[in-house]
Amino acid sequence: MTRDQAAKVAPLDPGADAVAEIVNEHGRAMYRVAIAVVRDSALAEDVVQEATITAWLKLDSFRGDGSFRGWLLRIVHNTAVSMVRSSRERPWDPEWIPPGTAPSAERQVVAAIELDAAIRTFARLDPLSRTIMALREGEGLTYDEIAEVLGVTIGQVKIRLLRARRRLAAAVERGEP
């Protein structure tokens, strides 16, 4: 943060300004991208908070002729990747399952096995492929939009998506990751 940016922090009232607008309009999409990368709900919230501040401080650099959502989600992805790198000393839990998705007594056994297989396989994909899946499935973005958000080619998006879906389908069919 520069001194100018620090000065900008001082008069902030996040309840009624651009920060609140970013959070209310895009918070859920930001969270989905973050959790796809970091695989930890608390850390994903940290990522969204940091990315919100980064976006707010850099609002002046957003020219406005592209998609604001794309610009913002890319910041989230970059922040998430940086945060994962900075916490590399802690190995990721290969058994990580998102909150609320653990097998329950109510769930049918077969469905539970399929869900677990899908989630565990998803967690083992590379971060970029997970983000692409999150943007496609969670946010319903087109391939073009995903390519714009992540700054990669449409071909790369399609190949990573197909590869990920095939792995998931195979894991579900086998009932194991």
């Binding site: 943060m1 001194r3 620090a6 922090v9 902030l12 996040p14 920060v19 959070v23 209310n24 918070g27 859920r28 969270y31 796809a36 709900s41 608390a42 919230e45 969204v48 908070q49 940091e50 919100t52 501040i53 850099k58 002046d60 650099s61 020219r63 610009w71 890319r74 910041i75 970059n78 922040t79 990747v81 900075s86 916490s87 000393e89 998102p98 909150p99 609320g100 998705t101 399929e114 869900l115 899908a118 989630i119 970029l128 999150a134 499935e137 700054g151 990669v152 080619t153 071909g155 399609k158 190949i159 990573r160 998506l161 197909l162 590869r163 879906r165 095939r166 998931l168 389908a169 579900v172």
Partner: protein, 102 residues
């Protein structure tokens, strides 16, 4: 000072995917990619639960952002007052910043 790139987030994403090898691994020609992807996307992945967000997410994020900004403001005041670099003052005020959670 380096001018900010319009629309440029802090860093670039590098995708090192080798398209030709990846297509080869998938057993596909580039021309068949769209059709195959379309077919694959007709089948659900069962990952819907993954995209659910916690209740009151927006409120929690807004509170967290406010706290972080207050911490930064304090760090700047401390840095100014006692001549510490901002980064050092920030580490003192936000010791958990950037470190893994327990």
């Amino acid at each position: 000072m380096k001018a900010a790139q319009p629309n440029a987030p802090p860093s670039r994403i590098v995708d090192d995917l080798d398209m030709a090898s990846a297509l080869d691994d998938l057993g596909l020609e580039m021309s068949a990619l769209d059709q195959e992807l379309e077919r694959a996307e007709r089948t659900g992945t069962g990952l819907e639960a993954l995209w659910q967000v916690p209740p009151d997410l927006e409120d929690r994020i807004a509170r967290g952002v406010r706290q972080r900004l207050r911490n930064r403001q304090t760090a700047w005041m401390v840095a100014d007052l006692i001549g510490l670099p901002f980064s050092t003052a920030r580490v003192i005020i936000e010791p958990d910043q950037g470190s893994p959670r327990a």
